[in-house]
């Protein structure tokens, strides 16, 4: 019986923690000075899902299947030194909890970008990107039930698209 209670308690705790990473960080940092914050709620995503077709002329990749399967979206961009270090520390702490898997890491001219996902081989339920530059730290997080293959395919397409349209020589 004690085991049952322990399992119940752990399940409830882990479910609560999983759902709150992005929102907790957003609530903590979004009102601080020197912070740009964007939040898109599940209700707004339901409205986006009802839009028949959306096309933007500057985009050749159609992200709509992925965007319509999202349920929450958070962006934080912080320039204040003390807050950006705290945000980076909080994100690193959150992603080290074990459920996050490092998708990729890129380092370029002092900028470090890490992307993490939560989910299984077929589905991504949460995505986190932390970008640390000398002057700012950006955090992007979204939740949903996204097809992993589709997400990776579209990201790769968009990356290739940017590679051909904006060649970068560093």
């Amino acid at each position: 019986m004690k085991k049952l209670y322990t399992i119940l308690a752990l399940l409830t705790l882990s479910a609560t923690l999983m759902a709150q990473t992005g929102r907790d960080l957003y609530n903590k940092y979004s009102d601080l000075p020197g912070t740009e914050a964007v939040y898109i709620s599940p209700a707004m995503f339901r409205m986006i899902g009802q839009i028949p077709d959306v096309e933007f002329k500057d985009s050749e990749v159609d992200f709509s299947p992925i965007i319509k399967s999202m349920t929450g979206f958070y962006i934080l961009t912080i320039t204040a030194p003390e807050h950006r270090e705290a945000l980076a520390a909080d994100v690193n702490k959150a992603v080290s909890s074990g459920k996050y898997e490092l998708l990729m890491e890129a380092k370029d001219n002092g900028e470090v970008v890490r992307m993490y996902t939560v989910g299984d081989q077929k589905t991504v339920t949460s995505f986190v990107m932390l970008s640390q530059e000398a002057s700012e730290v950006s955090f992007i997080s979204f939740d949903g039930k996204m097809d992993r293959d589709k997400l990776e395919e579209l990201m790769a397409q968009a990356a290739a698209d940017q590679g051909t349209s904006q060649p970068q020589e560093r």
């Binding site: 409830t12 609560t16 939040y39 959306v54 990729m104 579209l154 968009a158 990356a159 590679g163």
Partner: protein, 110 residues
């Protein structure tokens, strides 16, 4: 036999002395059964679940306010962020290509 009132008026010293006095016999017909506590496992389980649910509800963070009122603007913001992430992937891919070129040169001169 002392009355309840008399017992209540006894000092702590008197109570200790009476308790330590082994010459006072215990009545043979004294048969007091202390009430036993019953443990209800399902009651405890229900209390634990109610406690966890209550804690979960109370500790839920405040729902933030939507940045956009217009779903098209929200869509555009998400798409822009996805393109930014794709740009990062492109940068990383470029680094991999550069590394491969360097490795090819190194292997050529070996």
């Amino acid at each position: 036999m002392k009355s309840i009132h008399e017992i209540q008026n006894l000092s702590a010293e008197d109570l200790r002395r009476i308790g330590e006095d082994t010459s006072i016999p215990v009545p043979e017909d004294l048969n007091v059964r202390l009430p036993q506590r019953r443990i209800y496992p399902w009651g405890i389980a229900a209390a634990v679940i109610i406690g966890l649910v209550g804690w979960g509800l109370l500790s839920r963070p405040q729902q933030p306010k939507d940045t956009f009122d217009d779903p098209l603007l929200a869509y555009a913001a998400v798409e822009q962020a996805l393109h930014k992430m794709s740009g990062t992937i492109q940068t990383a891919a470029g680094q991999v290509e550069k590394t491969e070129l360097v490795m090819d040169k190194v292997n050529y001169w070996k």
